[in-house]
Symmetry: C2
Subunit: 211 residues, 2 copies
DNA sequence: TAGATTGTTAATCGATTAACAATC
DNA sequence: TAGATTGTTAATCGATTAACAATC
């Protein structure tokens, strides 16, 4: 359980993938798996998996492999899933609603506490049991609630102005879906999800493969 | 315009980011930009930008930098944006609807030709001017239409069974949003978008920074 | 021209893979 | 025990950064 050196971001990005596959194996009642078998499933090498995991500790058993459920638990712990994360969402359009409805959040400790929108038609609607609030109430809400993650699912134009409000409101991190790179204060973490960029990458690969 | 050696995927993934920033610069009527200035905006190095671009050709002017609009055009061409891509979408829930409504697709040559769903309540509804069809009509549709990209926005459980239908229907690529890794035939390209995985990464970073 | 900035080669850095002793 | 598989060090590979001559 050594955590001295900074872990490479490439390793961190693979942990959720391991977590997803282990969850599936657990559901199938598979109790044990070797790095080799896991590598096959993930289209990677056994070496990489062992190398990744051993950055955080020794979770395997020589000669046998890894205990699926305990490895899953360890990775969950590394990712901080055992601590509940309180979230809010701004922008309750289709994408926002899709995220609020995502079934696995609660199970993994991600708890959406409130949803905001500007549109008076949308305000008052219910998503997944949550009544959508007017965005005017956002500042006040943040003063009275400790929020870990703010999700932005507004259009690009309006995304930027929320950053200051979130920093002010002591939000720890922004999960941003607006197609814009938010200029980040070092008081807040920003994770940008630019969905459409992966479509452009795919476009390139189609042209390369089929022409 | 040499295209002999295979281009690294890491380079390809940066092209859409360059494209987005150049689009923004163009809108601001900025005509010229140097690799140094671009690097600042992107939080990277001038060297990397020049290195990336020169994999595809020499687009700059020594002493001056790059012409914003022509560089944007070149990158668009590299990504295959000048050729129209016909798409269909399966699973017209909130996420599916969000994608169909995404404003920049058409402008960039991505054309959604049809939308399918299983739910009889959803079938017949309209999204962005498209009437949602019953998924039973999917096979037939693919026989009569040449589709480049199939977008999957169904739950994980039902995602897998569509792969065969798409391969059969000569679809070139799948853009998959279901939280599952589709086992790919080599006849079809698959781009998996696992939105929630970036939330787990963010969770890790929050714990590291604030504890 | 002088200054700026490219294109490109070389150097460095980091990440992946291979190898193998340890051991369950 | 023998076979399997880990944890970990060493080797390789690839990607990023630095440097600089070419030149607009």
């Amino acid at each position: 359980m050594k955590e001295e050196k900074p872990i490479a971001i490439s390793v961190i990005k693979r942990l959720p993938i391991y977590y997803r596959v282990l969850t599936k194996l657990e559901q199938k009642n598979i109790e044990t798996i070797s790095s080799g078998k896991l590598a096959e499933k993930l289209n990677t090498t056994a070496s990489q998996i062992r190398q990744d995991l051993n950055q955080f500790g020794s979770f395997g058993h020589k000669g046998f492999g890894y205990q699926v459920s305990s490895l899953k638990k360890e990775i969950g712990r590394i990712l901080g899933l055992e601590k509940q994360k309180d979230m809010i969402l701004v922008g309750a359009g289709n994408l926002g609603k899709a995220i609020v409805n995502y079934p696995n959040f609660k199970r993994r400790g991600f708890n959406i506490k409130a949803v905001f929108d500007v549109d008076p038609i949308i305000v008052g609607q219910e998503v997944n049991g949550i009544i959508i609030k007017d965005v005017k109430l956002l500042k006040d809400f943040l003063e009275n609630n400790e929020i870990d993650i703010a999700i932005i699912t507004t259009p690009a134009e309006s995304a930027e102005k929320f950053v200051d409000i979130f920093v002010e409101g002591r939000v720890k991190a922004i999960w941003n879906f607006a197609p814009i790179s938010l200029n980040c204060s070092d008081r807040i973490l920003v994770e940008n999800v630019h969905i459409s960029e992966s479509l452009l990458t795919l476009s390139y690969m189609i042209d390369k493969k089929f022409n």
